[in-house]
Symmetry: D2
Subunit: 362 residues, 4 copies
């Protein structure tokens, strides 16, 4: 209830701080009998981990995951699966100067007022480092969803600052440090980031994420609608300020005759819905976009106050991502996967045996 | 868990269908000792109710609320507050033609696949009529938040289709049927809606909503962040396809030196954060925007399929809002109020007695 | 979270006070497609209702239930089912003398300290009248469990004060006002109660309850064990002070060689387990017993204090059950049914498709 | 929701199996600012750990706890506190013979049917070893409750098999391996256990537990009553078959004039209520008793079946507690502490600022 558990039936409870001894999570509700080992989880963690290009934080973390429980002879038993990742590259000294001040745009000020105490080392609990356990947990969810329904997840950066990144092909995504679905624009993005880093500034980004082969019927109206839960999951990622499903804000200027995706025996015509109608999955691709704000930890000095309320200039040293959006794609996929996993279990709880003759459209 | 309860500590469980005998809700967790009667709730319901202008559905519902429990001699007792609203103007016959078909963009298809049965009368449970109990419950939350912290809620339509509605003053909002904070544009909006209705089409809208005098420290990281919960609440409103907090999607093209709101002894400089940092309220105004899609129930015939998967043209008769966005402002305020109320209680559970010397900025 | 919802997946949220306008509940999570009408619910309410013999409260309440939502053409739709019972026989004046005093053994004192306000009319929310909506909700659960698994529920009074009631046959239960599974002892029980009533005193009772044809595998270790949830459900009934599963307190003096129920191809030998091992149902009968304290509202004057802490003698008038245990049997069955229903849904969420070759023993 | 989290606001999510690499938990919701280190937790774990006398399992586990998160410079920060205990003395080979059979009275059979897979090493998840993380988490709760309210917890064994253990003084409890509040009976208990162990059998026990200096007003009627939650917590402990609050089953034969604890300006006269009225704490001592069944793992061969349903005799080797009740006292205290902690937070969420003039009785 203090907010460190994600999900209702497939729950992920995370713990840890950026520069504490370890981070990790407990996954509860995983169905029994699925083969699972660290080898299923590590690749997803590797996609997200820092230090893999000059455009992200240079902190060196192997993010090696250990499964502490929940499997027997390589299979899930239905009991909690604990994942442990030891922090390796803590550098508490880099953060000493921010102990008594508040970085603009950062959680320093709000944690301080809420708790009366905060762990300043690397942002403590508010660090994006805490997305690692979630990505690990989502690897378990992705595996189950794929084995049950063939569901897959994809994502890409579609905009970096003012640079729109036209979609060319998913196959480009793993081949560049930006998760861009475009090969020709990489050089421009590299140059842009190099200039930005030199300026000691940071920049926002837009990420698109898609789930394919989603079963029809997931989502619990009225409040735990699938799109509402996706919005919750994605807005909860560090630095996200906006979420769209399907046509998103384009819907504002659309007419009903244009927006509503027609149904034909061959499938839906269009996907303005983004795969969700009335809060329930249609079986089409689920499509969502998020806006990620620029990192608040920048080298450029900024006006702020200290703990006693006095004005002070804050300059952040240490290692930071100049664009947190660069590593956000696997995180967004992870959150989407956790939502679908949770709702897959919720759906079969209430409606497990519903059968209708109407064909499922895609 | 089937999704009909909103909130964790201040919970609202709703029930009812568009054309059933009644709609209502049970509010659990309201602090004891607050004066409360129907007179505190009815005005909010009146702001949302149908039939108040020619631009909304002509269904006539007084939406008279009855408090069934939870008060004694005009004060809350800490026990559940049940609100009952009897439906008055059901017309089941208007919906007979959609029993075996699926309206494009509507929940017909997904409810059918999920449950194997659906109430076709006015959309049943998926009708926007079900926002009435939520608005009623939020009136209770608003009252408590105002008495405790002076928190207030405002909202307005900022765009209707392609027509941007420049903000002039909050005082205009109650004086036009669109909740527009602008007096001079009303005539144009009226003409636009008249033409649209004549065409049998519908249109999207954008709604802005603000909470003022919010206490600092509300929100539960990591997952139940205040902005994540706001996104959940707003995306869960019927027809919403996008949610922004603060700068929203503008953050994508912002630099860190521009986005991060500087702190000064006189207050924050700017509010790109929308009043939330690290998932916790800053004490500034909380600002959010939503994109509302055009109503899917339109008179223009659309291609679809029937229950057996055969192609068919669907034309929707009956009474509908040609722009659901027109009545969405009080609903968006209500959802925001429920989120803040819930988090106010959650905050005092864990951190009730935290005190710091740092002044609260606005 | 304020405690007025029972269950996790099949949730029952109740509202109302003893002498308010109405009591009722919202059932969320009922699977779709089950036939359901008031006729399925009313008989269970009738078993519990007051005024049916001289040994219970003389308050006259027909407890007529109205289904407000969640069904369409006589079938559940998967949406919330709201039940409404209007109070008919409120007599607020009977309770005026207890507004400023606290009855020994009653919730007066604790509600007052917790909430700072209390509804004194008939005990307000703490009245056993609030078990009516639960019995109504359980009728829905019982119906589903019976249709799915053939599960049935039975209960009886096994002790009234110091009078043990030997079990003879379930068929006697509906034929006497005590829910005794014994025909020959009724006269003695009647005389006992008549004497007690004349003395203005009250008495405790013991109730046994059984579920039969329970599926194997229900229960969620470690904490939401089936027996733990049963204990929660039964101890939560008004006036209950003790709960046993299976051998209960007899286990204390048993040896392992005696207690552990042997397994044979023909079934379990004995049921000391009460149908639960490791927190999970075995498929055997689930057996539980509860201790019900004597009613605290008695005519005999008792020493107490008033609101200012001054000593005072309290004498309770009004209409009360001299033995709340007499009407407790259908309530205990109801709570047991709600637990099994909830766990049936929880089980199929996580383990829906588990199949083993080992035969199920009974 | 799969049942491995205890609590609503102060939540404890445990993980691990008896012979896996580690056990532990994540505590969420601990208020910030409390001093906390391993030294606060280890003593409670030491009270519970195995191998400390010849009357308990000879497994050697130091149960050394490591705090992985949630503190900064020795104080809680309000973020999740993860506790890790590495298993040291796993002996998987001892359990090989039970892989294909089901021990009578044990969770083997039900886990197998529920999950289709089970970890047979030491009972896997169903082992009483999993009470260690709970005891660790409860040490945190006890510390907070003591600092806030002076609340303390005590417990003792009051019966071993047929031997009643008269209460003499709490000071005897730490001085004997049985947690008996009696010095003179120890020799007899030792002899009894020695004989039992020689016979390869096991025995039940009764444990009493008390909380003192409990604030008035804890507990959430109607369903999450304090006594209902205590019953849930205590019945959920391995091997518990019965729970009593206050007078418990003695209430059955009591009259109202005897049971209801009179109130006087000097305090309550008696405590048949066990410190709870109407589901809410009175401020008196909270008193509860539990019945613990004899261990199901015994050396005496017992009839059972194997996975294919064939009859077989099961004889359990390995290291086991011949009376699990012997180590149950600190566990029962722990569960009681977790319930009170959770309800202390829940109470201040809804009713934090309630003040009445009526004095609090003890």
């Amino acid at each position: 209830m203090s907010g460190n558990t994600f999900g209702k039936l497939f729950t992920v409870t995370t713990f840890g701080e950026s520069h504490g001894p370890a981070i990790g999570c407990v996954i509860d509700g995983c169905p029994p009998g699925m083969t699972l080992s660290e080898a299923d989880i590590q690749p997803e963690l590797d996609r997200r981990r820092p230090g893999t290009s000059r455009h992200v934080t240079q902190r060196q973390e192997p993010d090696t995951v250990e499964i502490l429980s929940g499997t027997y002879e390589g299979k899930t038993t239905g009991t909690p699966i604990a994942l442990l990742i030891r922090n390796q590259d803590q550098r508490s000294k880099d953060y000493g100067n921010i102990l008594d001040t508040f970085r603009p745009g950062h959680a320093d000020y709000t944690y301080w007022h809420k708790y009366g105490i905060r762990d300043p080392r690397g942002g403590g609990r508010s660090s994006a480092r805490l997305t690692a356990p979630v990505v690990g947990a989502a690897a378990v969810a992705k595996k189950w969803l794929f084995e049950q329904y063939g569901t897959t997840f994809k994502g890409c950066m579609s905009q970096l600052g003012e640079i729109a990144i036209p979609f060319e092909s998913w196959e480009h995504v793993p081949n560049n440090p930006f998760f861009a679905a475009n090969a020709s624009i990489i050089e421009r993005l590299e140059a842009y980031m190099d200039a930005l880093r030199k300026d000691g500034d940071s920049i926002g980004a837009r990420i698109d994420v898609v789930a394919q082969n989603v079963p029809v019927g997931l989502g619990e109206p009225l409040y735990d609608k699938l799109d509402a839960e996706i919005a919750f999951a994605l807005m909860g990622i560090n630095a996200v300020k906006g979420v769209e499903i399907g046509a998103g804000f384009r819907s504002v200027a659309q007419k009903g005759s244009e927006h509503g995706d027609a149904l034909t025996p061959e499938g839906f015509v269009g996907n303005n819905a983004g795969g969700v109608l009335g809060g329930i999955s249609t079986g089409q691709d689920i499509t969502a976009s998020i806006a990620i704000k620029p990192t608040s930890s920048i080298r450029t000095p900024r006006p702020s106050i200290d703990k006693s309320g006095q004005p002070i200039a804050v300059e952040t040293f240490g290692r930071h991502d100049p664009c947190v959006g660069i590593r956000a794609t696997p995180i967004a996929e992870a959150m989407l996967a956790l939502v679908l996993m949770d709702h897959a279990l919720r759906h079969r709880a209430q409606c497990g045996d519903v059968k209708v003759d109407t064909p499922v459209l895609r």
